[in-house]
């Protein structure tokens, strides 16, 4: 019988990686401090001890190299995980991700694929200031050839890292750093998979469909609870995959409720919320009872350290609640 235990999000990711490394000797990890230190947040803690230095490789501080080497290794029979310490630091590797990983299968006409996972934490609210707080997932969600996923809870975190490691194409697996220790949940022992391209309805409702991902799912759930007391029922959808989007799931919930709020931590222009809104505009026009609304960060280049400015940046349950009430009254 499968044993189920309550675990943190970070433990669940590690469990998934460990399961897959035990099952598949092609799986390896490279990145800054992934070995001896166990990762900047501790995701890979203990893995070098269990699997050795040949499979958990501490690499030099060179993000383009880390990802580029992972791509080459993936094209040549391995299943690498490239860890980038913070999503903010991924920029030097963007050329490798977009020019090489995303296009390799297409331009080699299927001769080579890149079964690689790039893991990286994102998100603010941790006093990380300008370069330890960003949410730049939309950059990658724009690129055909990539898969972009963001688990919001420990069950999905484990099942999706295992799926990502079995996927034949490059997967960017983004972890909201506020989820790491704050979000706990039941995680079965042993291996199981969660699909990489399916959204999930985490709370059923009738009046307003709320779309979000990562930490914002929890923020949205809290706001939805508050409205329930007043008789408004919100359907909360965890997008989980930002490339490809689960279009049928998005359309189904939007049609069902007729009112839509999309919540993300990133700034709104040309973002995940923009695309979800566009899908709904295209496919749900006749079902809408109110304008599609979006809630996200302001249009400033980075999250400031200054406590009131950081607080202003963040999407909180209060802000979501206010938007929901606006929609409810429409």
């Amino acid at each position: 019988m499968t044993c189920v235990a309550e675990k943190t999000y970070i433990e669940a990711i590690r469990d998934g990686i460990r399961e897959e490394m035990r099952r598949d000797e092609r799986v390896m990890i490279l990145g800054e401090d992934v070995g001896a230190k166990g990762g900047v947040f501790g995701v890979t803690e203990g893995l070098q001890k269990e699997f050795g230095e040949a499979r958990v490789l501490d690499s030099p501080l060179a993000e383009s190299l880390i990802v580029g080497v992972a791509i080459g290794a993936a094209m040549n029979g391995l299943r690498p995980i490239a860890e980038i310490q913070f999503q903010d630091f991924i920029m030097p590797a963007v050329d490798q991700i977009i020019s090489e990983a995303a296009k390799m299968r297409y331009r080699s006409n299927g001769d080579w694929g890149v079964p690689m996972v790039v893991r990286s934490p994102f998100g603010g609210g941790v006093h990380g200031a300008l370069y330890h707080s960003q949410s730049i997932e939309a950059i990658f969600a724009h690129i055909p050839g990539l898969r972009v996923v963001v688990p919001s809870n420990p069950y999905d975190a484990k099942g999706m890292i295992i799926s990502a490691l079995r996927d034949p194409d490059p997967v960017l697996y983004f972890e909201h750093k506020r989820c790491y220790r704050a979000i706990k949940g039941e995680v079965p022992d042993g291996e199981y998979t969660v699909p990489l391209d399916r959204a999930r309805v985490v709370r059923e409702g009738e009046d307003i469909a709320l779309f979000s991902y990562g930490m914002m799912v929890h923020t949205s759930l809290e706001a939805a609870d508050r409205l329930a007391a007043d008789g408004f029922s919100c359907e909360v959808v965890d997008l989980r995959s930002l490339r490809p989007f689960d279009r049928p799931a998005i359309v189904a919930s939007a049609r069902k409720c007729g009112k839509v709020l999309i919540v993300q931590e990133a700034n709104l222009a040309v973002s995940v919320a923009s695309e979800v809104a566009a899908i709904i505009a295209e496919d749900c026009f006749d079902s809408l009872d109110a304008p599609v609304m979006r809630l996200g960060g302001p249009e400033i280049p980075a999250m400031p350290f200054s406590p009131p400015l950081e607080q202003f940046y963040l999407v909180t349950p209060n802000k979501v609640e206010a938007k929901l009430r606006e929609l409810a009254a429409y």
Partner: protein
Amino acid sequence: MSIPAQAPGQVAATSPVSKEHALELLRSMLRIRRFEERCVELYSEARIRGFLHLYIGEEAIAAGVMPALQSDDPIVSTYREHGHALARGIPMNAVMAEMFGKVQGCSHGRGGSMHLFDAATRFYGGSAIVGGGLPLAVGVGLGELMQQRHTVTASFFGDGAVAEGEFHECLNLAALWKLPVLFLCENNRYAMGTAIERALANVDVTAKAAAYNIAAEAVDGMDVLAVEDATRRAADAVRNDGPRLIEFHTYRYRAHSMYDPELYRSKEEVERWRDYDPLVTFPAQLRALGYLDDVSLTAIEHEIAVEIDAAIAYADAGTLEPVSDLTRFVYSETRPA
């Protein structure tokens, strides 16, 4: 800017060369030269479109490197890779069809001149991103090592890529992890139109390798025997002892690509380098050795012309990818259960 009196090769060929092998090398160089000359004609007839970067002048490198590698040694190439592809053994038909953008091309017509791929010969692609292939080669080499395959991954790049950060990151890591990668710098003195002296504070690429504890050698890239000899020695060293670098001094006689008025160099400079054209000097050497005469040269030329004609006919007869296939291979067509 000073022009060297001669190609600054440092190593003379030491191994004796048989007549048969010498003629193979000549044939290989000539095959690349004639292929590209026909490509220029086809380009002016608009049968080949887009960007076309010619290897003319640099053929001794591809022709000398490939016989020194094993057939299972992976190769990562650049956008100036027709010569690498042909010398490696990708069928000329498939290369020409790719130039025409046909389905029968080695990249299904999706890549064209700059993006030749071929799994059968472990040819991991030409690529238009300068320096972008270097981390891939290091990763492929890591894969070879982890899967206990005793190969050498050959990574071609030009002097332009030496200015990219990835070059330095890759040399560092390959040396640090003792990866079986052979770095092959084709230094043709120009990054597009920028002379190496105007781009690099230190133009000695072997010195950069030395800074990362990689043994390196500068070789006359216009001398096919020197290229082959140096590659053989370096490849042996890589198999047993980690990365090596060879800097081949070479020269491209043609423009960077088809749209390039060559304002950055003088006609005199190009003419001076013509004295070192491997397709002038090597045949002369072979004639002196009694390996080659007009009859045998004509025979080789004829064989090549026949092969090229056949390749053009093959490419002409080829089909274009239907638009209905546009989205194939964005992602894998086989997904895990």
